[in-house]
Amino acid sequence: MTAFRNFVCWRDDAVLATTPRDAGSVISDGHFQAIHYPLKVRRRRLEQRSGGTWATETEVMEALKAPLRPDGYLLIPIVGGAGTGKSHLVRWVKGQTQDQPRWESRYLQKNRTGLRRAVEIIIRGLTGPKIEEVREALDAAPAHSEADDVLGERLLDELALLVARPDDLPTHSETPTGGEPLQMRTKLAKELPDVLHDPVVRRKLLAEGAVIPRLVGLALRGRQDGDGLDDDATRFSPSDLPDTFEEIGEASSGARNLLLRLASLSKLKDAAVAVINEALPVAAKRFAVSSQVDLIDVFRDIRRTLHQDGKELVFFIEDLTVLHGVEREFLDAIIEPAHGPDGDMCGLRVLFAVTEHHFDELDTVRTRCEDAYWFDSRYGDDGVDQDDALSFLARYLNAARIAPTAIDEAWTSRHSATWLRNACSQCPHQMACHETFGTSDEGFGLYPFNASAAGRFIQAVSPDRFDPRYVVRDLVNRFLLQAAADMPRGDFPSHSSLEPFDRNSAPLPPLISARIRSLRAIDHERVSNILRYWSDPGSPTRVSEATLDAFGLDDFIRELLSLQTLEGADFSPAPQDAHTPARGDRAEPSATIQSGLKASWRGHFDELSMWAGNNRDLSATATKDLRELVHKTIRENVDNGPTPVNLGDQFNETRFVRDTHIVIHGSVTRQTVENAVVVIGRTETNAAALQGLIIAKELQDLKTQDWPEAAYYRRLAATTVEAWTNDVVRTLIGSPAQSVVCAVHGLIVASAVLGHLTSRPTPADYLEAMFHPADSNDAAPQPVSPDGPPPKWAALVSKARELKPRLLRTIEAEFGESRGTRGGVRAIQADRLLPPVRDFTSTWDPVSDDPAVSAFMRAVLPAADEAWEALSHRVTDVAALVDRDRSWAEQTAKVLTVLRAAHAAGRLQDGTAVDELTRLADINSDRVLRSFYACSDAVAKDNTLPEKLVLLAGDTPDDVAVVHGFAKRAATAVDGIEQDLADRQSAAGGATDSEAAVTLALNAVTRFAGTVESVAS
């Protein structure tokens, strides 16, 4: 006997034979009975949306057998969503009543029953004038002889004819009598036919997979197994009409006008679709059956015939939409009283499946229905409980273990109710298997599930209500087929087999998952899967050794013990949208490591579990807090690490920005990964590491002896954070960002403009200039020249003075090294800073794309050119007046001596010249002439931009201004004196003989004295 390990006891062909999409109508009778399990339904009125009383299938059957209404009919709806088992119940009741005396039964399957087929079934085996007319009409109907594509064209033509006369349509809703609806209806009656006749529109509607081929197929052949069509598939929808510019643009003029309006006016489009859908049943009937067939007359004929035969007509309709096209006629026919002036008709019983809102607008039918039976039970104790669910599943599992033909043969040759054998009874592993994996109440083995796994899986696919279709599809069909492939490879249970359940199942605690990943690098996935689903409720590490052994994981048993040391971490929050905890759900332990956390962090802790285990996105708050926690932790690591960084204010703002450089995958927060440095993927390890960080942050006094898992949390967090820190460090020491490079360039130029750069600078000089603090007096214009500095240069200096501190902060943040977050920059990483410095200074191209410096850089060349031109002008303007070989002091002294002499002689017309020139002569008299001639030499040759900037930003312009100002003022004064001399000489007419003057004076004195004596004496 082979070992019970990765044992596949089911057959793929049996699985497939057992699990068609619509078991109710496709499956063979044998399989149908083999898998049938009576699910509970609720009985309540059709218009009642909730509540009701529990009912069994037998009660439904008895309800159908109940006495007819006085009007002679009995309508029993089975209500539920797709896949809930409506068809299954209808078929079961049909099967249970097939021998009912005096019942003329008609069974309309959901699948493969088109309108034409439905009518054929209804009149099958009956005779009568109307019935014969129907047969003839069916033979004459286009559907009888024409191909689908021709029928599609015919359907469109019929629709075009019908929508032109909407008032003739047997509408369900009231025709509008006025206002906008009537206007739209009138307009559509005129223009909609053009749209339906338009070649472009027809191509779209008739394309493969489009609405018209679908409607033709439904009318002719009905639904197909697994075609995914629902009630809406029997109708036009707004999206069926062309609405894109490309589609409309090619249409004919008339059609295009209406299509454009339909595309822009949703109300008009809805009205158009409504009119088409009103016309659709009539059109479908015309091409599929014939417009000549009056179903009400036919029914009367049938019912009268059956009445004469003493029979009742009984319909089993798996889906009322199979009668689309004649549904309204059918409904009108079946509610016709059996007893009337034209004679009596047979009684009528109808058991039909519909979706919940199917009769919302059909009061005449709804009010004539008996209580409905609803398939809307939840999975849980207040609905389909776990025992029911396991029994439901186990029947499928048992059928999947038996050859399909064997089941059909057993059914055909059955002699009792126990016609189906238990496949486990012949299995050599039955005992071990049933002990390990358990059985249903009926004794069918649950393998490869156990109760926990099955409960969790069913819960996962039944978030809102117990859904047999999903259970069959995901637990039987997909799971068993995938498991059959996985097991021989030792891959069971693979991620593929469990994917449908992942999102709605409680995840393993990330710590456990991470630990498993570290322990089982190769097969951690399936180990985790087993622990996640097959473990006992309340503990992810409680899996029987036999289970592990059965799945080939006997070598994990010892490691499982080590995992159990992390038992305290066992907390798995219930899925958010799981309404009722199933047997597989774990209860929250009374005390967990995270129970000591504050509510907000405990919430984040739980979110992380679901983030990794369920692919549930983190909330915005959790994302923000976790990013902040990671950011802070990494920053502290960097601070304590060997990497030289500047942790000052700019660090968080530019170098390591929480919201830019840390990305957590799987978050509702929009994050850009383009500049991310730390990318935290959605993994169990990361989740556990983040949980470890939370614990480390919030529970610093945690005692390891109380919480054994704490140590593992710490190790995991430390390892992970170290890796993240290394990522950050690599970025910090890597090439600087382009914005930083631009800042370096800008800082070099700003430093040069502010006069911090020396001529012929070395790299060290550049660094020194860059880190030279920007003083408010830097390159401030000196009041030596009345003209001042050129305006562009002055503006450039002002901008540089404002810009440099900002750029310096950026540079210091990138290249600086500080101690702690508050320490100033104490060193610079020159090895990282010098490359961009060298790059820029090799070209000195003041162009930058970075908006922070681009405007400043653009202003450099114009300002330098303007200032250089002004400087050149000043130099050349007074160069001829200045003596290069004589000291400035000597020259200014001579000028001042002469001017003072002239002033004393009254020959100096400029009254303030001496004072002003004295002031100028005292300014930097020891260097101005040297600067002047250095500048004179410089302007005489071609200069590079940095050479110009160094000269312009230094003392030279001021010194030149001093020399220029002195020379110009002195020259003006000297010229004035010269002119005065000339003027006076000319006026005096030459020199005078003083001796003659004396003589004349002496004579006059003598005469005067004599006269006085004469007169006075």
Binding site: A880, L881, V882, D883, R886, E890, Q891, K894, V895, T897, V898, A901, A902, A905, R907, A967, A970, A971, V974, I977, E978, L981, R984, Q985, A988, A991, T992, D993, S994, E995, A996, A997, V998, L1000, A1001, L1002, N1003, A1004, V1005, R1007, F1008, A1009, G1010, T1011, V1012, E1013, S1014, V1015, A1016, S1017
Partner: protein, 246 residues
Amino acid sequence: MTLYDQCVDLQVKLDAAQTADASVAVVAKARQLVQVLNEASTYLAGIEAFKSRMNIQERPPLDAAAVMEAVRAFRGGLSSHGANAFQHQPAAKLDRVTKEQQARATRWATSRWRELFDPYQPLIERADPDQMVGNSIHRVTAQARAATLTMVKGLDPITKADELKARLGGDDGTAAWLDTIDSIAAQLQQALQAIDAERAALSPEVQQILQMASSEEGFALSDLTTSLLDGLRLAGIDTDLVVRRR
């Protein structure tokens, strides 16, 4: 040329100009002083002639001692400093003293000249146009002579000797002027007497009117009667009177 070189040259020019400025100033000062001295000498000489013609024995109140002291100091300066002495204080003092003596002489001479007209002052005052009523010829004559005497009286007999000569005639100077002055005064007196005679011939009413018209109050127009107007017309003096607002 550099500023420095330009200034070197300019300094030489300034020095030369300074020297030249000094010589010119001395000469100018000398000329000014000579002019002052000569003017004063000429005036004083005119005083001598005036005294002689007018037979005035009184001497002008000149301070000869101050003059001599200033002259001595100036001459001492010249001997010590040469031409530069014109720019020194003694030269300035001599200039001031000379001007003071000339001013004294001028005040004395004009005073003596005006005293000559004192006898004729009542006649001159009677020739006030407001005071005279009568034949227009006599009135004009009287006014013209009185004006001549008044104008001549106001002239400086030393510095305006030429103008006096033109108005009073005579080449020999003052003596002839005195005769002319007497003659003019006589003509003035005759004209006044003729006016008085004419006035006396008027009716008492007309004389009263003329008297009242010459008074501050005037003659009220309301008091004018036809007979009075006829009397004025008859006397030929109606056109001498005009109506004025009070």
